[in-house]
């Protein structure tokens, strides 16, 4: 199989990564963990788009993954196409839109940019309530500061975000390519999507269980699934 074919036929894995991140974020109350990065905040915000073939569901809400609409879309066979996510680590907040098929990053707002914007928004509201109209000037100043943000700092912070997401993807693949995916993750996903109670601690312990190397175990697990 040509590289281009291998890439195209395996894009679904990116959507499954998004699904797994979404589920883990909810099960672990918005706190994920990797060996390299320790614990950090990770939660869906603002937008979630799910799709399957011609059917699509777009949810815009503060916490778009929490409602039944999103889970119902999953139960109709849709998978997350993209979502906006907030990452909070070491007192720094980053937001971005993650796309499943390509794993491309969009609208990545780095910690420095986010901080300034939020300060500006708060400042604007205070000004507005006080009857002052300084908001626009503040935004202009903010945009000038943005442009002066050193290129290397921006690239370095972008690389840090990519490294964090890369580690999450690696952890996901360790499960996805292992028998634990079918034996542990998929049954938990089904419970979670159906709105049933999920024992997050039991899930955490089970997914940390001994890795079963190769797809043989996965196939065996598939065979026992109803």
């Amino acid at each position: 199989m040509q590289l281009a074919d291998r890439i195209e036929k395996r894009r679904f894995v990116g959507r499954e990564l998004l699904l797994w991140l979404w589920m883990e974020s909810e099960l672990f109350d918005g706190t994920l963990h990797t060996e390299e990065h320790g614990a950090f905040g990770f939660w869906l915000e603002k937008q979630l788009v799910l799709s399957a073939e011609s059917e699509s569901t777009s949810i815009k809400a503060a916490a778009p993954g929490l409602g039944r609409e999103a889970k119902e879309a999953l139960l109709r066979g849709q998978l997350p196409e993209r979502f906006a996510v907030r990452i909070s680590k070491d007192d720094e907040e980053t937001s971005l839109v993650l796309t499943g098929d390509t794993l491309a990053l969009r609208a990545l707002k780095l910690a420095t940019v986010l901080d300034k914007k939020e300060e500006a928004v708060i400042g604007d509201l205070v000004d507005e309530l006080a009857g002052r109209t300084r908001g626009r000037k503040k935004k202009k100043a903010e945009s000038e500061e943005d442009e002066e943000t050193p290129f290397y700092e921006r690239m370095s912070k972008a690389a840090e975000v990519e490294a964090l997401l890369g580690t999450l993807y690696r952890d996901f693949l360790r499960l996805r390519l292992d028998a634990r995916w079918d034996a542990v993750v998929v049954p938990t996903m089904r419970q979670w999507a159906a709105g049933e109670d999920v024992d997050a601690d039991a899930y955490r312990a089970a997914k940390r269980g001994k890795s079963t190397k190769g797809a043989k175990g996965a196939k065996a697990a598939k065979g026992t699934r109803k």
Partner: protein
């Protein structure tokens, strides 16, 4: 499409180099992933060769792409110190295009056809005559307009062997990949769930994350068995 301000939206491409023995290896990611000695000096000449050459109204091309300075589309001189910076190759991918408003072209073409019909004393024009008139009118109108210019920032992190291209537009990505390969002689592989896996492989991983047999066996996860959905 800027790397310098605002939020960032970009596509990632892995840089691969072909060795003398024909093997493809990732540039920057592996222990042997360093660029060949003198690579950047040699590539600078090619870079200048592929610098953006602004469109001329008398040339037949309606669109052209080339390199410019990152963040400064009008600077196509590509000074070395602005391109090669502390482990990065920074460039702008500039595309110029003649965009003639349809209504303007149709009106001017009609006028030209009328004048030509009177001149030759014929009511009907051949297809070839009409095509030639269109070409003449297009060139005439181009002289009155300026081409549209679009520039997308690109930064190649040499240590990571990774190109960040600040656009998701498929046509821009295709043109950029083509120009990059012509300029640097290195192939770009677009990031995808499959291609990223090979870069994440850790030495202590119990399984190879890019193991072809494991990927070949993967089938999409089905949360709801058929019939229950």
């Amino acid at each position: 499409m800027s790397a310098l301000s605002g939020s960032l939206s970009y596509s990632r491409f892995f840089v691969t180099l072909q060795g003398r023995d024909g093997t493809i290896r990732s540039a920057g990611s592996a222990a042997d992933g360093s660029l060949p000695r003198g690579f950047l000096d040699r590539s600078y000449e090619k870079l200048l060769h592929h610098a953006m050459r602004p469109l001329d109204a008398d040339e037949p091309e309606s669109e052209r792409s080339g390199w410019c300075v990152l963040g400064d589309p009008l600077d196509v001189s590509l000074p070395k110190e602005r391109v090669y910076l502390e482990g990065f190759v920074n460039l702008g991918f500039r595309t110029d295009k003649w965009v003639i408003p349809g209504a303007m072209l149709r009106t001017r073409l009609r006028q030209a056809e009328l004048a030509y019909r009177e001149q030759v004393g014929r009511e009907k024009l051949s297809r070839r005559e009409r095509a030639e008139l269109k070409e003449v009118v297009t060139r005439e109108l181009r002289k009155k307009l300026v081409p549209s210019t679009r520039a997308v920032d690109l930064t190649w992190s040499l240590d990571e062997g990774l190109v960040r291209f600040f656009s998701h537009t498929a046509s821009a990505m295709l043109s950029m990949v083509d120009l990059f390969e012509k300029t640097f002689g290195a192939k770009l592989v677009a990031e995808s769930p499959y291609t990223l896996a090979s870069r994440l492989r850790g030495e202590d991983d119990p399984i190879a994350l890019d193991d072809e047999a494991l990927w070949e066996a993967l089938t999409p996860t089905i949360l709801v068995p058929e019939g229950d959905a």
